[in-house]
Amino acid sequence: MTENDIRSIALFYYFALLDEQKAIEAGAEALNYARDRKKRDPALKNSSAVVMATFHVWEKWAGGLNRNRVVPMSSWAMPEGFDLRPWKEFQRNATSEELLVVIWSKIVGYSEGDIAVGLGQTEGTISFRLGKALRKLGGLTSFHPKLI
């Protein structure tokens, strides 16, 4: 696992959990899991291993996640003037499937093919979920036209 993979894991959990501390804890767990997967299957692409690991750990953490909880976040800095409100709202309202594919595909930057391999789904399914999720997210950003 490269530093880029670790950063991808950090980004994933930051936006999925919106909690810095939990992002680190879940990230560490996912990284170990991803490394374990790579040991078992060296041919597996890093991105697919990360998708597999982050999803596996997410399922464990999502059960106890209170999405309505407001967690102050300071050290993980966004560019000045950037508003996270639409994302926070999206994180609260979107389904897990929608939330995760947007993070993997648009924030982390993995291809739909790698995501599909990691989740054991077809590319079409991923594409469909993405379209649905982005429409929802775009609807939220339309209330804040200055954001984009």
Partner: protein, 340 residues
Amino acid sequence: MEKWEKEIPLSRKNRRTVSDFFAEEMLYDYLSERLDEERRTAVEKVLAENRDLKKDLDKISQGQRYAESLKALRVPPAALEAIDEPDTYMSVLLKKTNYERWPLTVKWGMEALIVLSALLIVLVVVPWDQALKFGLSPRGRQIILAEVSREKAPEAQQTDGVSETSETIAFEDEDAKKPSAPATVAVPETGKEPAAAPSVAATAPPPAAPKAPAVAAGTAAPGEGEKAPVAETVAEKSKKPGEGALFRGDLAVTNLTATSPKIQDKIIELGGRKAGEVELGWKKTPTSAYFHFTMPEAKYEELTQFLREYGAANISKQKHPRVMPDGIIRLILTVEEAKK
């Protein structure tokens, strides 16, 4: 099959048109430019006719741009290091037990239980009696000194906190008397021996007497019917090294604080002098006083009578390797507060 294909054309006028419903599902692929030319044209045609679909397309486009802008998040290096940190036994244990998700009250209860267990183990395992003796009591420290002296002199002994060796047979405040040295004491032959001094005459000289000339004349004047004074040499033929004696006893009194100074005064009055290292009446414990002293043997009876006023003194004569000068006895008396 060929017949059916001819009868049911796949598209009208040989063109693959899409409905609004399908066009809506294809919007993301259209935006991603993954549709073939024919599909793209068909979707564009629907978009031109359907405003709602056009709005949906804008939403998807806007959502995509917003999501891609989130990549700009700057992850601190410390967080990356923390994620890459190898697991410790403790962290694995906490993760396995889902400790973070426990209710707060259960967490506190568990922590309190661990702290109490640790305290209990410390209380049970540490030998507190020995620790307190060595840490607080002067006796505890004396015990260590005794061990050192034992190595140097095998015959060294320890008696109630006072170490003794055959080389320092006398107390610091007394003249030493070697066990093998013969002593001559003048004894008036009165025909009666004091009850309290079975082996030594009642007119035994003070402690300096052993250094008197070997043969001294009796002081008693010759009288009628009395025999002439006889100078008797009391060479300690029977006293061999290691055949001394020690008077040891204890006494229970009702008011130790008031009684102890009186006993101390009486001992001094009778010519007693402290032996060993501690003062007369040393507070051995909060409820006991310790008297280690030497005194003329002739005064022993008077002392016991005095002690009877305060209680039944249980004093016994014991064999002891240290040999005292003639006419001098050594006592160890422990006076304790009587139990109510």
